[in-house]
């Protein structure tokens, strides 16, 4: 009569597979983002980000808000942004990346891999400018925030006319 156990085993296994898939999906779309958010908060506390040094600067506070609302779900931190901005065309490439998104290949930590980034063109020019500034200064350990060439909302506005596809943004990336 053990064939009854087979029926039960199949039901249990099928349930397990679906639950595992649900858990995976939840972790990837919600849970992981939550975990990363907590992670990022801890990092901020531990590293005493230079944001605090510019307290009172509305731009920096707004930049942090935009970051928390739109970026922190996926990114814990992005310490390599200043280096990206310093590459040829890097400054405008970063604008294109947040405005139009990215779809293609990129070299990250010396490894070539496919990569995607959503477009945030529906955010205000000013918000995109301050959040880009935030990525330039937030993890800069030397605290050179005063020397950073800040983004201007007009720059963002002008860039909108380029109206690139995510794959075209990928082509604009300078990966040496």
């Amino acid at each position: 009569m053990r064939h009854v156990y087979v029926n039960r085993a199949v039901i249990v296994l099928a349930t397990l597979l679906v639950v595992a898939a649900l858990l995976f999906a939840w972790a990837r779309s919600e849970g992981l983002a939550l975990a990363l958010l907590v992670d990022q908060r801890l990092l901020e506390r531990e590293t005493e980000t230079p944001i605090e040094g510019t307290a009172g600067d509305d731009g920096a506070a707004r930049g942090e808000d935009v970051w928390s609302a739109h970026c922190s779900a996926c990114h814990a931190r992005l310490p390599h942004v200043p280096e990206l901005a310093a590459r040829a065309g890097g400054r405008s490439y970063l604008i294109d990346l947040v405005l139009f998104g990215f779809e293609g290949e990129a070299t990250i930590d010396g490894e070539r891999r496919s990569f995607e980034h959503p477009a945030f063109g529906d955010l205000a020019d000013a918000d995109l400018a301050v959040v880009l500034d935030h990525t330039l200064i937030a993890w800069d350990e030397d605290d050179t925030s005063d020397d950073v060439d800040r983004y201007r909302p007009e720059e963002i506005d002008e860039a909108r006319d380029r109206d690139l596809a995510p794959s075209e943004v990928a082509e604009r990336r300078q990966d040496g």
């Binding site: 009569m1 064939h3 597979l17 898939a21 990837r28 490894e111 891999r113």
Partner: protein
């Protein structure tokens, strides 16, 4: 080793393997997150794919894997869980399209991206495989041809699926993740090569020859094989083996039969074969001296695996074969534990091995109850089918310590199981051999 521990070990290994792809995908560098339903759909794709690959291990007849559960149950599990896996894989694109109807074009086999077309092709291969299995008998597809198509379609589906995953690239963007996922499938599928290539090579060293072919009642034959140049095999009464006739162990024509000889006599082994199909109808014409290969022993349907104070056997037709082996073995061992044998058949003349069983009654604590569908006029025994009333007439009231072994046609097994359950026999004391391989 203890069968429970071995069984638990394989179960844990199985559970780890089937969720491994999800763990691999989650490892850093993690791909960027997608909406919930997209992630869910892709997770179904991954677990479905590895579950299909696991099927190759399930059917590879590793004795170490199958013994704790019984290969007949493993094969039943294979059919059911593979159906579930195909269901999950079908759900994978369906959920994507329901979530974003704009993706509907991806289901068109002639449109969409290369990745979507390869993914579709993998699904069609699996669906075709499932349909051929379900309708094999109805469309009269040759058993051997079906087996070849089954293996090829399965392998094609797995290769195409991995190609699809690589092309999509989002979840395995890094090369090492792709390689790990492909390696998991490759290892699982390689076990199939073991069954079809390495195992026959090993079997070549232990050939048998047809020594005797004896007609029994009810279009049944006893096929006796002698080992050639080796000791033969040890089996437990009630077990079975896949039998291949002819000079090559690589032949795909093989059929499972129960041993009917005593497990106590080393060397010669005998099988009971009833004329029921293409292969078995010709069994009477097999020349003495024909080379044979025996892939076994398999199965856990045996009193040796389930010690009990006494046994109740239920045989329907040729389902008597494993019990003949059990009775002969117990007689040779001088085993005097009480046995009741219910043996159902159509007519008195067709009752295979009835003369020998009656002789064995003298050497065993055995009570035989023949149940005939079409009894002769002077018949005083049980008639019709084995039912609750027959059980009540022949089983002692306090018989709960006995183990109940059933082998026969599915309707008989279902009916007897129900009758036993209504007598209050707990499920774990009932063992049934249902050998309905596709």
């Amino acid at each position: 080793m203890n069968r429970t521990i071995v069984g638990a070990f394989w179960l844990v290994a199985y559970l780890i393997v089937i969720v491994l792809p999800l763990v691999v995908v989650m490892l850093p560098p993690t791909p960027s997150a997608k909406p919930f339903w997209v992630e869910f759909s892709l997770a179904l794709g991954f677990v479905g794919l590895v579950q299909i690959a696991v099927q190759f291990v399930l059917v590879a007849r590793y004795t170490a894997v199958t013994v704790p559960y019984g290969i007949d149950l493993i094969l039943k599990y294979h059919r059911q869980i593979a159906t579930v896996a195909i269901g999950l894989l079908v759900a994978h694109p369906v959920i994507l399209v329901v979530h974003d109807p704009a993706l509907l074009t991806l289901l068109n086999p002639f449109a969409g991206t290369l990745a979507s077309r390869i993914g579709n092709a993998a699904l069609y291969a699996l669906i075709l495989l499932a349909l051929l299995s379900v309708f094999r008998k109805r469309i009269n597809l040759d058993y051997e041809l079906w087996r070849v198509s089954h293996a090829i379609l399965g392998i094609v589906a797995i290769v195409l699926s991995h190609w699809h995953v690589v092309l999509v690239g989002h979840y395995t963007g890094t090369a090492w993740k792709e390689n790990v996922l492909i390696a998991i499938s490759a290892i699982l599928v390689a076990s199939f090569a073991y069954l079809r290539l390495i195992r026959p090579a090993l079997m070549r060293r232990t050939p048998y020859r047809v020594a005797e072919l004896t007609p029994e009642r009810g279009q049944t034959w006893t096929l006796a094989l002698d080992p050639v140049g080796h000791e033969g095999m040890r089996f437990a009464p009630g077990q079975f083996a896949w039998l291949k006739l002819g000079d090559s162990p690589y032949t795909i024509e093989e059929h499972p039969f129960s041993f009917s000889s005593s497990a106590q006599t080393p060397g010669r082994v005998a099988f009971s074969i009833k004329e029921l199909g293409d292969f078995t109808n010709r069994i009477g014409q097999v020349p003495i001296g024909t080379t044979a290969y025996v892939d076994g022993p398999h199965g856990s349907f045996s009193p040796d695996h389930e010690p009990a104070a006494g046994y109740v056997f239920f045989a329907g037709g040729v389902g008597i074969a494993p019990f003949v082996s059990m009775l002969r073995t117990m007689a040779d061992r001088g085993d005097k534990r009480p046995i009741t044998l219910f043996y159902g058949d159509v007519t008195w003349d067709e009752v295979a091995y009835r003369d020998e069983i009656e002789r064995l009654e003298a050497r065993l604590a055995l009570n035989v109850v023949f149940v005939l569908e079409e009894p002769p006029e002077d018949w005083t025994g049980e008639t019709g089918f084995i039912d609750a009333d027959a059980l009540a007439r022949h089983l002692p009231a306090g018989d709960v310590d006995r183990l109940y072994l059933l082998c026969g046609p599915i309707p008989m097994i279902d009916a007897v199981e129900n009758a036993l359950r209504s007598r209050g026999v707990p499920m774990h004391r009932i063992r049934s051999e249902r050998f309905d391989l596709v």
